[in-house]
């Protein structure tokens, strides 16, 4: 998409979502290359710091808290699992011994109970921490750039898949909203809202409501022109779609190779390369067949390069350190020793802090206020009064979206004809 709409006022729209997601993916990749708890904690801290420095007040920015709690739950779960199914735990200092539960022969290989050692608990906590940090990285990406904005950047050929994702993305929050509404409705009808009996009987109305909303969304998208297309030869369409899909698969496989050391020849790099080429070809071929244009695409500026680069430096340092055999990257629980901090890797991780200063601050409009969940399902929201009422004059201001220029016609001949477009917008109150 080389056509671009006017100029994006710097600072207003924040960093390109791709920049944030790349950076977060790199941080997650880095976390997956080490089991040193100090390094992991450092990565987590870096990510949280950047998020708190650069996140906005938009609703999706609150997802960080959810992911933090999820991470904590993962650690706890792993420790509990090790205690319960503790047989192949690491030998070492036994803290206590659970009674061994004999299982029938078909459950061979699984055992319940047995000795629980400090080593095995520590080991479980550390692997849990690793997973938790990866989750936090994902949460960071979510709260720094809304997933929807990332989808907007998808190339045209992937757009339809992207919309399927949009609908499913909206399904999850709808579900959460529906659960809240129905809980409240049950309470008002004198039904129990706690425990199992509260859960039972909620599933159907909740799903019904969420599905209904998704249907409404689908009809609205249809009415607003989603899915209009120019006729294209079916073969060409298959070809571009196939190339893109195959390429993506290769890239995914390659990334797996990069993350899990030694699983693929060449560390997975050749896979990524070949996949990327295929995707590129597929997208180029597919881009021609769509009639869709894009409004104010997010620009990819120096800042985006720098943010992405900082992420690459982090993951690069850890991969290189791993290949060079730097000691201390992997945590050893048996014998139990205090982890040491590999200085080089730690410095590398700290580079990941850079976006906290590089990335522009994003301000989504005026004061964002929280929704009040009423039993009806509509968030009741207080609006800044001026914003709501100050319309009358503006309404009189200009006549508008005027006689339709034919689609794709380059309306207006030059910069002189679009005075409005070049106005950057007033400062945020």
């Amino acid at each position: 998409m080389s056509r671009s709409a006017g100029r994006t006022a710097p600072g207003r729209r924040g960093l390109h979502p791709g920049g944030w997601w790349l950076w977060a993916a790199c941080m997650a990749g880095a976390a997956s290359r080490t089991t040193n708890p100090i390094l992991l904690a450092l990565i987590g801290a870096v990510v949280i710091f950047v998020v708190s420095a650069r996140r906005t007040t938009a609703p999706w920015s609150r997802s960080m808290g959810v992911f933090l709690r999820l991470g904590l739950a993962v650690i706890v779960l792993r420790v509990v699992l090790v205690i319960v199914f503790g047989d192949r735990a690491l030998p070492g200092h036994t803290i206590f011994t659970l009674p061994h539960v004999p299982l029938p022969s078909w459950a061979e290989g699984v055992s319940i109970g047995g000795a629980v050692t400090i080593e095995s608990i520590v080991q479980a906590a550390v692997t849990g921490l690793q997973l938790a940090v990866v989750l936090v990285c994902f949460g960071a990406a979510n709260s720094l750039a809304s997933p929807y904005r990332l989808l907007r950047c998808l190339p045209a050929v992937l757009y339809e898949a992207g919309v399927a994702i949009t609908v499913s993305l909206s399904f999850a929050p709808e579900l959460v909203m529906a659960i809240g509404d129905i809980r409240e409705a049950r309470r008002l009808r004198g039904r129990s809202v706690r425990g199992l009996s509260g859960l039972r009987g909620m599933a159907v109305p909740v799903l019904e409501r969420a599905l209904e909303r998704s249907l409404q969304l689908a009809s609205s998208m249809d009415a607003r022109g989603y899915g209009r297309r120019v006729p294209v030869a079916r073969r060409a369409r298959r070809w571009s779609g196939g190339a893109t899909a195959a390429g993506l698969l290769l890239v995914v496989a390659g990334v797996y190779g990069v993350v899990v050391a030694g699983s693929l020849p060449g560390g997975g790099i050749p896979f990524v390369a070949v996949g990327a080429v295929l995707v590129g070809v597929g997208l180029a071929a597919g881009g021609r067949r769509t009639d869709r244009t894009r409004y104010r695409p997010d620009p990819w500026r120096l800042q985006e390069w720098l943010v992405a680069a900082s992420g690459v430096v982090v993951v690069g340092t850890l991969v290189a350190a791993g290949l060079a055999g730097v000691s201390g990257l992997q945590f050893v629980a048996n014998p139990l020793t205090a982890p040491t901090l590999p200085i080089v890797a730690a410095v590398g991780v700290l580079v990941g802090l850079a976006p906290a200063w590089i990335a522009p601050v994003e301000r989504p409009g005026t004061v964002v206020v929280a929704g009040d969940r009423t039993p009806s399902g509509r968030p009741e929201v207080a609006a800044p009064d001026g914003a709501a009422r100050a319309t009358t004059d503006a309404v009189r201001a200009r006549p508008v979206p005027g006689p339709a220029p034919s689609p794709r016609a380059p309306a207006g001949a030059g910069p002189g004809t679009r005075p409005v477009a070049s106005r950057p917008g007033e400062p945020v109150p």
């Binding site: 056509r3 709409a5 006017g6 207003r12 904005r149 907007r152 509404d181 409705a185 049950r186 008002l188 009808r189 039904r191 809202v193 009987g201 409404q216 969304l217 009809s219 609205s220 249809d222 009415a223 607003r224 022109g225 989603y226 209009r228 244009t293 409004y295 104010r296 989504p364 409009g365 005026t366 206020v369 929704g371 009040d372 039993p375 009806s376 399902g377 968030p379 009741e380 929201v381 207080a382 709501a388 319309t391 009358t392 503006a394 309404v395 201001a397 200009r398 508008v400 979206p401 220029p405 689609p407 794709r408 016609a409 380059p410 309306a411 207006g412 679009r418 409005v420 477009a421 945020v428």
Partner: protein
């Protein structure tokens, strides 16, 4: 611009057609209002304009719908997106993106407009609808009126020739509704846009209407014509039209201005009539009390140190613009959550501490979307499960339903009921345990005038029985008819609290139509005017 020729439409599984041999023609630049009782097929008619009916809903359509020369037979909704802009009942449910600006551009992106055209139209639309300050706001954080305007803007950017709106103002406070309607009239006058809209609150839209399509329902044929003519004997009529009929004014006035010019003699006659007497001051112990209640959500204060006492026999209307804290006030009385500060007391206890079973015998809340309280498969099942839940004698709820709205078919699925019937069922469920305090959130949304009249009658009875009623509403006509006391909230604070008559008469925003026409007289409703005139008619 829009032409229906011999259009019939039957939903799958329905035994009779929703639209029956409809012939209709709406010219360019017309603002046409579709009126009719609930369930008469207004929404179906609107959705047929851009082909959502039948392309999206299924069902059988015969005849032909032509929009700007294109038939919905050959063009599915997406291919009509550049001609017809459709705004549904619930704008929030139609948002595809998550930021105002992107939402405005969405349709244009699908139409494949050049980027500079898109940019210019977005800027123009932001100005046209006064959305400039909201451009980077996440959609989830907008108030109802703002959402409605964004939804309208989002279809306007594609510069359609026809705009179709389903109940564009029913969720809005009076001021926001006027704002949206003013924008619409401007579009009609400046751009020659054709607007087709359905609305129950006719008092709001009729003054702007060029023509009216009356959908009487039950297989009767459509009546189309200039607003003043069609309304003369329409089964649904706003107070102004009722007043006009009462006094035999012709042509029928549709705006307050026209009515005032005709009302001179009426005002003189009424000046000598006995003014309606004020509602008696309520007696009895306080039923519910808020003391310095403050509720905060994140950084927002939804209620700010609110004090309120409600006594038996009172019908308190809580008014105020969208987002002023009305719903929060009701949910506080229903104990949805503990207040951030202050104390809530309902019949001696804090409602948020009560177990659900105990709660329903003290407070009944019917939320804005009454359907959410219902999840049985039939009316009868709903009644028996309500008895079971609250430990009442079998048949109690069914008996209550008989009182609220007699003759509801017991085998009908709640989803297939009309808006008014659903409200009646929800009311019966809530009223069965006879809670002394009844809370209603926006009870007239989607109700037609007959439905509203039944509600008014029922509320009067309940109050006479000693129930205390608190209702949050934007419907000034409802307040005029039934409320004994009005409380106005702004930014979470109580800014006015007093007898309904005084509060609404003295506010240009909340005054009902009759009060505006007869000011400075103290008359609020057509019924009062009729009562005042009649003895005179007998004497004369």
């Amino acid at each position: 611009m829009i032409r229906f020729s011999d259009v019939s439409f039957t939903y799958d599984g329905a035994d009779r057609p929703t639209l029956d041999r409809v012939d209709l023609s709406i010219g360019e630049g017309e603002l046409c209002v579709v009126v009719g009782p609930t369930g008469s097929g207004k929404t179906t008619l609107l959705r047929a304009v851009n082909g959502l009916v039948p392309h999206f809903t299924g069902g059988r359509l015969s005849g032909d719908v032509l929009v700007d020369g294109r038939s919905t037979r050959d063009f599915p909704p997406r291919e009509l997106a550049d001609v017809v802009g459709m705004v549904g009942q619930d704008p929030a449910a139609s948002f595809v993106t998550d930021v105002v600006e992107d939402e405005l551009a969405y349709t244009m992106e699908n139409l494949g407009l050049a980027p500079d055209v898109m940019r210019r139209r977005v800027e123009d639309t932001l100005d046209l609808l006064g959305l400039h300050e909201l451009r980077y706001r996440p959609l989830g954080t907008l108030s109802g009126g703002q959402q409605q305007r964004v939804a309208i803007g989002a279809v306007l950017t594609a510069s359609p020739r026809v705009l179709v709106l389903d109940e564009p103002t029913s969720a809005l406070d009076p001021a926001a509704a006027e704002e949206v309607l003013a924008s619409l009239t401007r579009l009609v006058h400046d751009l020659g846009l054709t607007v087709l809209l359905a609305e129950h609150r006719l008092e709001r839209v009729l003054p702007f209407a060029d023509s009216v399509v009356l959908v009487p329902g039950r297989g009767s044929s459509l009546v189309v014509g200039p607003a003043a003519e069609v309304m003369v004997d329409a089964p649904v009529a706003p107070p102004l039209v009722d007043l006009g009929r009462l006094c035999g004014w012709a042509p029928l006035p549709l705006s307050v201005r026209d009515a005032r010019r005709l009302a001179g003699p009426l005002r003189d006659r009424l000046a000598e009539a006995v003014p309606p007497h004020a509602a008696p001051a309520p007696r009895g112990d306080v039923q519910a009390r808020l003391e310095g209640v403050t509720v905060r959500y994140h950084e927002v204060t939804a209620l700010d140190a609110v004090d309120l006492e409600v006594r038996p026999g009172e019908i308190v209307a809580v008014m105020g613009r969208n987002g002023s804290g009305k719903s929060t006030l009701l949910s506080q009385l229903a104990g949805a959550r503990a207040p951030s500060a202050g104390r809530v007391d309902v019949g001696g206890d804090a409602p948020d501490r009560l177990a659900p079973k105990a709660l329903v015998t003290r407070v009944g809340l019917v939320p804005q979307d009454a359907g959410i309280l219902l999840y049985g498969d039939s009316v009868a099942e709903e009644c028996t499960s309500a008895d079971r839940d609250t430990g009442l004698a079998p048949g109690t709820t069914a008996a209550m339903l008989e009182r609220v709205l007699p003759g509801l078919p017991p085998g009908r699925h709640p989803r297939d009921l009309s808006e008014g019937q659903r409200l009646a069922l929800a009311l019966a469920v809530v009223l069965a345990p006879t809670p002394p305090l009844l809370l209603l959130d926006e009870p007239t949304r989607g109700l037609d005038y007959p439905g509203k009249a039944r509600l008014v009658h029922l509320l009067g009875e309940l109050a006479a029985d000693g129930h205390a009623v608190v209702m949050a509403t934007h419907d000034v006509e409802l307040v005029a008819q039934v409320a004994t006391r009005a409380v106005v909230l702004a930014e979470g604070e109580v800014v006015a609290d007093g007898p309904a008559r005084d509060v609404v008469c003295h506010s240009p925003v909340f005054a009902p139509q009759v009060a505006k026409v007869l000011a400075p007289g103290p008359w609020l409703t057509v019924a009062e005017v009729r009562a005042a005139l009649e003895p005179e008619a007998v004497r004369g």
